[in-house]
Symmetry: C2
DNA sequence: ACCTGAACACCGTTCAAGT
DNA sequence: ACCTGAACACCGTTCAAGT
């Protein structure tokens, strides 16, 4: 009458991780709007009340997804950071990486920047944003030291550059910018930010 | 026993407009997440099934809200357009207007750029974006004619500039950029886009 | 510690029927 | 034409109870 393996209490090991993984699939395939805790529980083969042991409510699960997103984005940016490159290609590589993440994970990006601040989780979010834009700050500070970029508060320049890159990425991920030319647009953005739009 | 004025069939005139108005209040006060058709109907004093005569489903109501948002934004931008101004202040005025709209209507902005495309309503959305960025295109084309901006596809320059401005606005509205310095950031963005970040 | 089952108060959508 | 009332199939959240 033993109809279940005995090596785990009820399910297949780590419900929390299983829920997050299933949630990310649903997010990618059907969007954040049609993500239901009950359906998630169903897919994972667990009762509808089980998730509440791991996430106090739906928002907590969404927050966890967003935080994981920041981890992956920050990692991708760190991997794209190449201090041996000249300034412009170095910045362009970062911007292209951000754009790539946005187009591969449009729903996740939306979630990451959604204004649903559990005032406590909002700390972690701000930290996620900081880590994400942090690679930019290093590049800018470096370039200033070498005199390749004008002086000025590096955080101000970072915010401005980061926001601009995010704007192109958000437009592209949202479908308002032709995906085929999004790469050119982001390249043009970096170029014109560095050289200016005015003649000479 | 006449407990209702006879000059209207059931409710107070224009249910569609009443629903939209009530929805926009809820959007501003409690966010898009807690916007329910049933509660809207309750507030408007009508049965929960009544809204369906005016909006085929919830998404249709959200689309209508977003479209109204584009109308208001495009109108504000058109009002801020001053062809007698020199290039930089002229662009800065547009960017500041966009930023102001974003900070006054953060939830509405999110809705306007949400990727929930009923493939039919998506046409109207794209049109809304076009009208919104359209004022930018005129400024850029003008400036090119006067030789104040380098030659090149004006639509490319418009997309790039528009996306950058949107990025700063989205960061500010989302709370990732200090609201007190958002104005400086957007001014810096326009300045550096025109003059470049590189020395000389 | 971790999960279940039942219960509660909500949803959006549909559809016959009323005025 | 416009709205109602009832019905259906879902939700998220909570909580006693089981293992």
């Amino acid at each position: 009458m033993a109809h279940m393996p005995e090596n785990r209490p009820y399910h297949h090991g780590d419900l929390r991780a299983a829920l997050l993984q299933s949630a990310e699939r649903t997010l990618r395939e059907k969007g954040a709007g049609s993500l239901s805790l009950r359906e998630l529980a169903r897919e994972t083969g667990v009762s509808h009340a089980a998730p509440s042991r791991h996430f106090k409510d739906k928002q907590a699960l969404l927050n966890a997804l967003a935080l994981a997103g920041y981890d992956r984005l920050a990692e991708a940016l760190a991997a794209a950071e190449d201090p041996t490159l000249p300034l412009q290609p170095r910045l362009t590589a970062l911007a292209r990486t951000y754009l790539g993440f946005a187009m591969d994970n449009p729903e996740l990006l939306e979630l990451m920047y959604a204004r649903k601040h559990d005032p406590d989780a909002s700390e972690q979010m701000t930290d996620g944003v900081d880590r994400t834009v942090g690679s930019l700050e290093r590049v800018i500070a470096d370039a200033q030291k070498r005199g390749e970029i004008i002086a000025g508060d590096p955080r101000h320049l970072m915010h401005l550059t980061g926001a601009a890159v995010h704007g192109v990425a958000a437009f592209s991920a949202g479908g308002w910018l032709d995906p085929d030319t999004a790469g050119d647009t982001i390249e043009g953005l970096i170029h014109h930010l560095l050289h200016g739009l005015m003649p000479r």
